[in-house]
Amino acid sequence: MAEGLDKAREEFFSEAQELVEALSRNLLSLDASLKSGVEDPSVINEAFRAVHTLKGLAGLFAAKRVSTMSHRLEDVLDGLRLGRLALTPEVLDLLFRAVELYNVALSAERVRSDEPLPQIDTLLDEFGRVGKNPSAATNPLARFELDPAMLAVLTEYEEHRLRTCVEQGLLLYRVRVDFALATIDKSLEDIKLRAKEHGEVITYLPTGASTSIDSIELDLLLASSAGVEVLEASIGGDQVQIYPIPVKERVSVLQRETAPPPRNMSLPELSSERREPMPSDHSVEVQGGQGAAALRAIAQTVRVDIRKLDALMNVVGELAIVKNALGRMAEKIRAEGSRQLGSELHSIQRSFDRRLGEMQSGILEVRMVPLGQVFDRLARVVRQIGREMGKDIRLVITGAETEIDKLIVEELSDPLMHIVRNAIDHGIELPDDRKRVGKPLAGTIALNAFQKGNHVVIEVEDDGRGIDEKALVARAVVLGKVHPEEVDGLARAEILNLVFLPGLSTRDEASDYSGRGVGMDVVKTNIGKLGGVIDVQSETDIGTKITITLPVTLAIVSALLVRIEGRVFAMPLTSVAEAITFDEQAIRVVDGREVMTLRGVTLPICRLGRLFGLAPLPGAVPPKRRYVVVATLGPRRLGFAVDDLEGQQDIVIKPLGKSLSRVRGFSGATELGDQRVALVLDPTALIEEMLSAAEVTNRERRVGLG
């Protein structure tokens, strides 16, 4: 018994050690991000989770000092995470000291020493002083069961007002009002005015659950000294429901991390368990049902490290190789006489193939998460930035349920955030300007996601002023990215694509949010790393639309094997539209590059053998017929001329070694199952390379003529 406990205690220490190490690593990357200015919110989240887990463990093993420290640390990290506390070198210093003290405290616990550790108290005091982040004990808001999701979207000012009101001893109410869309402006002002007699409307947020399409339901957060009855009498009505926000018995803001991840607006959920039932029995039933479902969901969910899924995926990849070998073996046996045996082997191989396919899609499915995860984060950002910049923004989200690989979602967050910030900052005009051009006062940003074949398309659309093409070109000329003489020859798409050049900004003033246009080039690079493409469309005074096209998953890809000068290359099927017979006669030279016409549309042709400088293998016979593999990425199309098509195969792409990192045009290599290794073509890079090279020659030519 005692032995078992000791063992568990030992495990606690080793796990605690790991967590402290993880925390330390996270702090290091925070430090790096502080220096580079590129913040990665997931790092803080990871740090937070490490500390949170540590707190739980320490509590379990009565390691009091560790748990007290974690408690406070959690608070600081939560502040950082919710943006209430700025990440400064000073804060980081404190956090780093905490890591050291963790080690001290853990060793002390390990030898069961009760010696006081005054350093910890000093550190805790300093944490208390950090920034303007009040500790849990002194946070007046902690008395109320406020929804963290709502707290997170409050602007500084609103939060300040909320604090002041609470400190003055006012009570908080949630006032739910169903407004008719047609009269919302007036009704809202009206209700604000009436509420003013009794208190202050801190903020109002849509609940996302309106009763009809002509109405919108808002939750008003009201601070007032009056009781419910007084308020009912003053602002009450058919469409108005008033709920006091409950006061907690015990003060703990830290309970919030056990709450489910904040969804849009969960104010009503909050009150449902404490408050009297909703008006109709029916809705109570629904509530109960949902609660039960949520409980079951928790019990049946497993959290899995994505690396474990990657490892499984690799095994599937290796199995696919075995499967291919089996197929070849079957062919061989069939060809060499034993037809019967060959056929049997073949059918075994086919059923193996099917099961393997099921397994593969099963694993892929596990990796998939809805894009809504990122969109939710964006929604908060939109609200906050919009408010602080004095712009009224309506965010319309469609396709949040569209699923995409977990890894891609993680990587998408920053680029999307950047695009949205740009849209608010550069795109949407100030209300007065919008009024002048006859647009609705509130700007609209639409986030649309949908699946299109093997790709997921994400559009970020705003109804702002559009990209100022003249300013863009002028800036590009100043920066020397465009020669003054070629300005007139630029096509619109070419002009708009200038936004992806490093260092471009069409605004004179840099803003806190989107900087000086530094970033769209980074966005493009990051999207490119995910195998995606980004495009921009814009109309003056109508708006801007950024379209991102991404593969659904990164793990296993179906590939077309092509032969070029005797060598086999793999081309991911996601980017292959079709393969057609190559007709040398149909090739024309336009603007110095080879093109053919496919169903009435001009298709640039890239001879891969020539591009790669591949010499024919000795004794090779030129193929009788060749093929053109048409690759598409977003709106771009390119035909790759190859000698032969070898068939289709599922492949696991392995990255090329560091010594080949400078080689462009390949996304990696893969084993084909017969000891051969094939390079995997990177259509994104190749299309980019071919088309941009063509643009350069075009420009040169135009300049030459002009």
Binding site: L656, G657, A669, Q675, V677, A678
Partner: protein, 160 residues
């Protein structure tokens, strides 16, 4: 001047390598000369698996191959050391070497000889007797039993 400075660099490298007496090297043949590298860095020797050439790579990279699922970039050591070319033979081998970056790199050599143990006294630090191209990659020369073995510096070879 330059010679002195480079010698001191070699000195340090060797000192680090041969602290406690004998040091083990794996010797192999490139053309007529015998070369050797630190044995501890060699992970495996494989006879030439099928190589896939990589278009657009440096000319001294002969290709990539898979060794039991591990993707390895193979460097033609002759080309990297600017030695005269010769075709691969059945004696040709690929040494899989661990690099600092964690990557495993393949070194194509003409023939693997043996493991040799050298005492510090058998190692001569002579960067200047060899060709300038080679000098960059050479730790020194080993002279066990009157033989002449060029000791190569794996890190500098791989870096290029």
């Amino acid at each position: 001047m330059a010679e002195e400075r480079s010698l001191s660099v070699f000195d340090r490298r060797l000192a680090a390598a041969g602290q406690n007496g004998l040091r083990e090297f794996l010797s192999f043949r490139l053309g007529a000369d015998i070369h050797a590298v630190d044995l501890a860095r060699i992970r495996e020797i494989v006879s030439s698996p099928p190589l896939t050439e990589v278009p657009r790579a440096q000319s001294d990279i002969v290709g990539i191959c898979s060794v039991r699922g591990l993707l390895v970039t193979v460097v033609d050591l002759r080309r990297r050391l600017h030695l005269p070319e010769s075709p691969q033979t059945r004696l040709s081998r690929i040494l899989l070497a661990n690099t600092d970056s964690g990557e495993v790199i393949g070194l194509l050599v003409d023939e693997v000889r043996q493991v040799i143990r050298l005492a510090p006294s058998e190692i001569e630090i002579t960067a200047n007797v060899l060709g300038a191209d080679l000098a960059d990659h050479v730790l020194g020369v080993g002279r066990p039993d009157g033989e002449f073995i060029i000791l190569l510096d794996l890190d500098s070879i791989v870096e290029t």
